[in-house]
């Protein structure tokens, strides 16, 4: 029994990280649906969200302002990235688009290093440090914030895609771009929107996790790759799959680092990615591969 007692604790911290992976995975899915591009710069949006929110907070210590300001700033970066780096591409084959987004990721990370330096910054938790006893586990208020805000964001996103005209137009584009074009939807506009939206999601994830992990210029790469693994695991382009993949990955990683060895913590995500690619490449909830 002694070995099992920290289990709820691992699951709580796993779900918290998993919620962040899920937000990033959804961002990957939105862009993939609109363009079939894998946007490797997605993780850098998470880092930019965390760091810009921290900078805004240092200027004017208001958390809601920092959250909204961070998300808004990164959304602009996402839109600019699409406009400046992807739209001018002369020969938009998937290989060159992958290379460009990889280059973009490295470029944004380098700029962030020049702007913020290599030291980590902290953001205060949204509501205090006092842990809450929740059954067998103790939970930080920030854990609950991550899970709560994450769930709300996912619900808003689903509502946007199902209930609004713009959301339906984006889904139409994902389903069949040419047919969407024929009924008068501007596919270019939808592609741009998808980049803005997924940048906003990534930024929200980054700001939520910043009080728990600190914000530093190179945090985006690993988070992005794990969000990407979550997206593949759940089924690229499926939003429920992205959420499920993210949570599953977070918990698996937390259990493995707690029960086996913390050094291999980061390897778990990629092991699951390889496993998913080999056994079920369309993901848990994906359609045909």
């Amino acid at each position: 029994m002694e070995i099992l007692s920290p289990l709820p604790q691992y699951i709580v911290s796993g779900l918290t990280n998993g919620a962040i992976y899920a937000l990033i995975a959804l961002g990957f899915g939105i862009i993939y649906n609109a363009t079939t591009i894998i946007n490797f710069a997605q993780g850098e949006m998470v880092m930019l969200g965390a760091l810009s929110a921290i900078s805004i907070y240092q200027l004017r210590p208001s958390l809601p302002l920092a959250f909204l300001g961070g998300v808004a700033a990164v959304t602009l970066v996402g839109l600019a990235f699409e406009r400046l780096a992807l739209r001018p591409v002369r020969d938009p084959n998937p290989l060159s688009l992958i290379i460009i987004t990889v280059g973009g990721a490295v470029f944004i990370k380098g700029i962030a290093m020049l702007l913020w330096g290599k030291d980590p910054y902290s953001l205060p938790p949204f509501t205090g440090h006092v842990p809450i006893a929740l059954g067998p586990a103790t939970v930080l208020p920030q854990n609950l914030w991550v899970l709560g805000v994450g769930a709300v964001v996912v619900l808003i996103l689903e509502a946007f895609f199902r209930l609004t005209l713009v959301g339906k137009a984006m889904r139409a584009c994902a389903y069949n771009p040419r047919a969407a074009c024929l009924v008068g939807i501007s596919t270019g506009r939808m592609v741009q929107l998808s980049f803005g939206l997924s940048a906003a999601l990534g930024a929200a994830g980054g700001i939520l996790i910043a009080p728990l992990t600190l914000g530093v210029y190179d945090m985006g790469t690993m988070l992005g790759l794990k969000g990407f693994s979550a997206a593949i695991l759940g089924g690229l382009g499926s939003s429920l799959g992205g959420v499920l993949g993210g949570l599953l990955l977070g918990v698996a990683e937390s259990l493995a680092s707690g029960l086996i060895s913390s050094g291999y913590r980061d390897a778990v995500a990629f092991f699951l990615l390889l496993l998913a690619l080999f056994i079920r490449p369309q993901g848990l909830l994906g359609g045909k591969g």
Binding site: I38, F107, G263, L274, F278
Partner: protein
């Protein structure tokens, strides 16, 4: 005529390779040239994969690292013959590439990019964590120099005499691969997978062959690197290095054997030329990767030539500017 031009080009290249050590005495420049050589071997392999098979590996540093660590551990810790260790490295890297390639290449699209990315991260973590063998983050020291019949390759000049003949061999091997029946099938595959298949090319097997082939080059480069440095650490084999290799391919021009030499040369020398480079390294590599891919997708040289052609065309009042 074509044959003669072809022969001239190779003879010129071999002559330059032979003449350089006579003219260059500085150990610093020779070491730099040796790194260019090692990078060229890596880049040619990745270029075959990207330029001809139309697939991308975002984890090539892992195969480079597998070669380096296999050589380093077997010779440094266990005192095994370095040439045997090099073979063992090839075997390990080739098998790893085969195991990843079989399932990933069965699927259409860019699953190989994802699988190699994941593999690259895992291998990097294993290098860090398997401390009893790899020495962990602080690295593995005491790797002996390569030796052949009592002649030890232990100075930059002697290493030059080992590495550059290897580069010539790899370039020639790659050029003949591209010109062979397999190479023609590869180019067909790059232009249209469906068309290649309809002509009886087993595209999946061909892609797998090239992927394993490029992993073998990377492993060879890794072994040479380990014996050149006599010391290796995981930080030389991270994702950033994989991305640097992709940048070298892109700058040199995809589907160009000689371009690989150019890309490796330019991007190995550049950090040395610019003193302020260190802090800006990440930005510069990212920026180069994006701009070249957006504006000169055929690589630096051919891209600039295309631009010149286009300007001349405009000046003569032709076509597009019309």
């Amino acid at each position: 005529m074509r044959l003669r031009r072809f022969l001239n080009r190779w003879l010129l290249f071999v002559a330059v390779v032979i003449l350089i050590p006579l003219a260059v005495e500085s150990e610093y420049y020779l070491t730099l040239l040796n790194f260019i050589g090692i990078h060229t071997i890596l880049v040619v392999g990745l270029n075959l994969l990207m330029g001809y098979a139309g697939q991308i590996s975002l984890g090539h540093a892992a195969f480079f690292g597998l070669g380096a660590y296999t050589s380093g551990i077997l010779t440094g810790t266990y005192g095994i013959n370095p040439w045997l260790a090099l073979m063992a490295g090839l075997l390990i890297s080739g098998s790893a590439a085969f195991l990843i390639g079989v399932p990933a290449l069965k699927l259409r699209g860019y699953y190989l990019a994802m699988a190699t990315l994941g593999f690259g991260v895992i291998v990097y973590i294993v290098f860090n964590e398997l401390q009893t063998w790899t020495g962990g983050p602080s690295g593995l020291a005491g790797i002996p120099a390569l030796a052949l019949a009592g002649f030890s390759f232990n100075t930059p000049l002697k290493l030059y005499l080992l590495i550059w003949p290897a580069v010539i061999f790899i370039l020639a091997l790659s050029a003949s691969l591209v010109d062979s029946r397999t190479g023609r099938a590869l180019r067909a595959l790059h232009d249209s997978e469906a068309a290649a298949e309809s002509l009886g090319v087993n595209t999946q097997r061909l892609k797998l062959l090239i992927f394993v082939w490029s992993a073998l080059y990377a492993s060879l480069a890794g072994s040479l690197y380990a014996h050149t440095m006599n010391f290796i650490a995981p930080s030389s084999f991270d994702i950033m290095f994989s991305i640097k290799l992709v940048t070298m391919v892109v700058v040199g021009g995809m589907a160009s054997i000689w371009g690989s030499l150019l890309g490796a040369g330019v991007l190995t020398v550049l950090p040395e030329l610019l003193v302020f480079f260190h802090d800006f390294e990440v930005v510069i590599f990212g920026g180069i990767l994006m701009t070249v891919m957006i504006f000169l997708p055929r690589g630096l040289i051919r891209g600039l030539l295309d631009l010149k052609e286009f300007r001349r065309y405009q000046k003569e009042g032709g076509g597009l500017s019309g």
